[in-house]
């Protein structure tokens, strides 16, 4: 069963859609207030530089993140999404990030199933003390999305035109 599903999980994104010159991806970063948002603030106060592609949304907890937000982001403005929360076991709200973790696992599989490349949706755990780690995560996500090129699949305007 597992293997069967895996076979189907092939991105239908077409890599031949070459990015226009000077194209920069937009990444929607949804961060929990207590760990990852504080961590990203620390990246700032430590003046650690990272690519300017990420746009950050603050939520109280990673468990507040509805899969709808990820889908909406990919449908409208973003080429990729990063969701980040407290490390498992360190959730400010005791157990929120465990629910988030399970929910995202399913969401990722679903989005992958309908054709998105798995690197379009990424998750990480960044604590309030991990400024350098946040920069590292953003670097990696930006690199991954740049390799994938602009997201055309299921963009709302594609459907509206028809």
């Amino acid at each position: 069963m597992e293997a069967e599903v895996k076979d189907q999980l092939v991105s239908i994104e077409k890599p031949e859609l070459i990015a226009p010159p000077n194209w920069e991806p937009v990444i929607m970063g949804i961060l929990c207030n207590w760990c990852s948002y504080a961590g990203s603030d620390l990246t700032g106060t430590s003046r650690i530089q990272y690519p300017p592609n990420i746009r950050i949304i603050r939520v109280p907890c990673s468990s507040r993140v509805d899969p709808w937000f990820l889908i909406k982001s990919l449908q409208t403005t973003a080429d990729g999404v990063l969701v980040s929360g407290c490390h498992p076991g360190d959730c400010h709200y005791i157990s929120g990030n465990y629910f988030a973790r399970r929910r995202f696992l399913v969401t990722k599989k679903l989005l992958n199933f309908v054709g998105f490349h798995e690197n379009r949706i990424q998750f990480s755990w960044v604590s309030a003390a991990e400024g350098p780690k946040f920069a590292k995560v953003v670097n990696k996500v930006t690199e991954d999305i740049k390799k994938l090129g602009p997201l055309h699949l299921y963009k709302k305007e594609n459907f509206e035109k028809k």
């Binding site: 948002y37 603030d41 003046r47 300017p52 746009r55 950050i56 939520v59 629910f99």
Partner: protein, 657 residues
């Protein structure tokens, strides 16, 4: 239509050097909801806040965006500026263009400016969906629960009660006093522990604002800060405390002898007993496991000799319920069991004892009347070896941390030994002498001179028996040689470990604990007495190993926190909590399962449309809700809204760039 005002901050040069602020202002002015946009050097300064206040009135703004530093920094400042202008403070949004743009994209001004514009657009879009929110008022039950009647619990209870706030003090054992009641003298002043502790114990028993519930355990805690309900199990003592006069006839006549916990099992107590002569309350209890009347139905002597007729073999455990507003947890510590140190012969050699056993021996009210004795033959020891860090700072066999008090109490023990046995000689094997504290280093220095103790820096590798003596082989790292010391008695300075019941208690209270079992504070430096759960505080060794002065300080700090919490009749609470729309709620109860605080319960409401039946819906207690939003994301009917982070707000942010 929304009227948004945008205020972009230079933050001196912090933002202005890397982001083109005037361009950002021009760009946001093009958003149709933005009716006013401006820039200023320091928005957080008084003139900056004044600009916000003036613009709100002049342009009749309906929401405000401040593009400046992180909201974690100045959100409160700007909210206050809104309040001052008569606007609801929750109509503010902060665009974080410093930590998230100017400081992290210093090499690319154009990209940083673009990003700042996007962040402003997102904040504007979110602010349009912002709603007026009002702080929640929650009534407060002004009564505190203190769990644990050691010195931490006693101090916290007395301090709270002295502020005329009722306290319920729950103690597991038959008497309060805790570990401190077992000590002989205390460092660094060599005060007699009993002399300074027992007056406090008596104060607790006689205080009009303290309800002392000894021989009891906390079973359940429900509710939220200011409004907890606690269930306490009062174990059956089989003695009616109201009629018992504490005369002691019962335990003198009781024929059953069991090891005495108070004296670390060195002598025996009876099956009906008071833990120690100064116990508070000074009433005996029957140890149900060992009493032959309760186990086999034979004996009944205590009942016969009790003139007031206080003995009641039929007594049952009693459940006591109290409404309380705050909890102080002061469950203390356990002594670490040194059994893993097989090379020391722990358990094989009788003359190896732990420091608390030694403490009981040198104690004037102890089993040996204050003179140390070898457990094997009862002789007074002349050469005593003290081994420090048994369990502490030992990743292989014990625990990684430093137990903090062993250096000091071992120093005290060398003095006590010298006082009780004048011709004795003490040897101390140590790794470091950690004597940080007021008067501590002086105490150690003075003890070394006065007692002539031999300090050997190094670990002990083996203890073996030679005749009736123990040979302690260890390393003296300072001369780089193996040394052997002939000892009559070996005292192990065993580590302090977390109470073994702590994890269970933590689950019951809904607070967290660390890998050792110590209860976790909200912030290690800035909130050391609070837990992550509002209204629950920590005092003493239950949080980490501590000496008595620190424990007392922390207990008093807890009392100050409790008094602060109870200073008004109601408490203010952040309004960013979830609410349920009953019309949409399908009653699936997924939210009930994910809520980490148990804030959601089910309720029955009429179906409506002329149908008289009831249907189940979820109901959120806004006093308990901490605003994580787990329930919002899991709700399939989209019936739940988290104020401040509503779906429209977040979707607006997503689609705005």
């Amino acid at each position: 239509m929304a009227r948004v005002g945008v205020f972009v901050c230079f933050c001196g040069a912090n933002i202005a050097d890397y982001v083109d602020v005037p361009q950002v202002v021009e760009e946001v002015k093009r958003i149709k909801e933005v009716k006013f946009a401006t820039e200023y050097k320091y928005m957080c300064s008084d003139p900056g806040q004044g600009m916000i206040r003036d613009a709100i009135i002049q342009y009749k703004l309906t929401s405000i965006v401040v593009a400046a530093c992180s909201p974690r920094m100045h959100e409160k400042t700007f909210r206050k500026a809104l309040s001052d202008a008569g606007m609801n403070p929750y109509l503010l949004e902060v665009a974080n263009i410093r930590e998230h743009s100017s400081w992290v994209h210093q090499k690319d001004k154009k990209a940083a400016t673009n990003k700042a514009m996007d962040l402003c657009r997102m904040a504007v879009a979110k602010s349009i969906a912002n709603e007026q929110l009002h702080e929640i008022s929650v009534p407060v039950t002004k009564r505190a629960l203190v769990i644990g009647g050691g010195i931490a619990g006693i101090q916290a209870a007395l301090d709270i009660a002295d502020a005329r706030i009722p306290v319920v003090l729950v103690e597991k054992s038959p008497s309060i006093g805790g570990k401190m009641a077992q000590l002989d003298e205390t460092f660094p002043t060599l005060d007699c522990a009993q002399c300074i502790l027992t007056p406090k114990m008596v104060d607790v028993a006689s205080h009009p604002y303290i309800e002392l519930i000894p021989y009891a355990e906390v079973l359940e805690l429900q509710g939220f800060v200011g409004n907890y309900k606690v269930k306490i199990k009062k174990k059956a003592s089989y003695v009616n405390f109201k009629t018992c006069t504490g005369c002691g006839a019962c335990w003198q006549k009781c024929p059953v002898k069991v090891p005495n916990e108070y004296n670390m099992g060195i002598d025996k107590r009876k099956a009906i007993y008071t833990p120690f002569p100064q116990a508070v309350p000074n009433k005996p209890v029957i140890d149900a496991e060992n009493c032959t009347m309760l186990t086999k139905g034979k004996c009944g002597i205590c009942k016969k000799v009790c003139l007031p007729g206080a003995i009641d073999y039929e007594m049952q455990d009693e459940i006591i319920e109290r409404e309380i507003g705050a909890v102080v947890v002061a469950t203390g510590y356990d002594m670490w069991d040194p059994t893993p140190y097989e090379e020391y012969g722990v358990g094989r050699f009788k003359d190896i004892i732990t420091s608390l056993e030694f403490e009981r021996m040198v104690s004037a009210n102890g089993p040996t009347n204050g003179v140390p004795q070898r457990p094997s033959d009862g002789k007074v020891p002349k050469n005593v070896v003290f081994i420090k860090c048994v369990g502490s700072r030992d990743e292989a066999k014990g625990i990684e941390y430093c137990s903090k008090i062993c250096c000091m109490y071992t120093t005290k023990h060398t003095i006590l030994l010298h006082h009780k046995v004048h011709d004795s000689h003490a040897y101390v094997f140590y790794m470091d002498i950690r004597a940080a504290g007021k008067g501590y280093e002086e105490f150690v220095k003075k003890a070394q001179v006065d007692t002539g103790t031999t300090y050997l820096r190094g670990r002990v590798s083996k203890i073996y028996k030679k005749g009736d003596k123990l040979m302690v082989r260890g390393e003296d790292a300072q001369i780089g040689q193996v040394v052997e010391v002939e000892a009559d008695l070996v005292v192990l300075a065993t580590a302090v470990s977390a109470p073994k019941d702590n994890p269970e208690l933590a689950r019951l209270l809904g607070i967290s604990y660390d890998k050792y079992g110590y209860l976790s504070e909200a912030h290690p430096k800035l909130r050391p007495v609070e837990t992550a759960k509002a209204g629950i505080f920590l005092a003493g060794c239950t949080q980490a190993p501590k000496d008595i002065p620190e424990t007392v300080s922390q207990a008093s700090a807890c009392a100050a926190k409790v008094c602060g919490l109870f200073s008004g009749d109601t408490m203010k609470k952040d309004p960013m909590v979830s609410t349920i729309n009953n019309e949409y709620c399908s009653g699936c109860q997924n939210c009930v399962k994910v809520c980490p605080y148990g804030a959601i319960i089910t309720d029955e409401v009429p179906v409506g449309h002329g149908i008289k039946d009831l249907r189940t819906v979820a109901k959120i207690n806004e006093g308990v809700c901490q605003g994580c939003g787990s329930c919002v994301a899991i709700c399939r009917s989209m019936a739940i809204t988290l104020a401040g982070f509503t779906d429209p707000q977040i979707i607006n942010e997503i689609v705005s760039i």
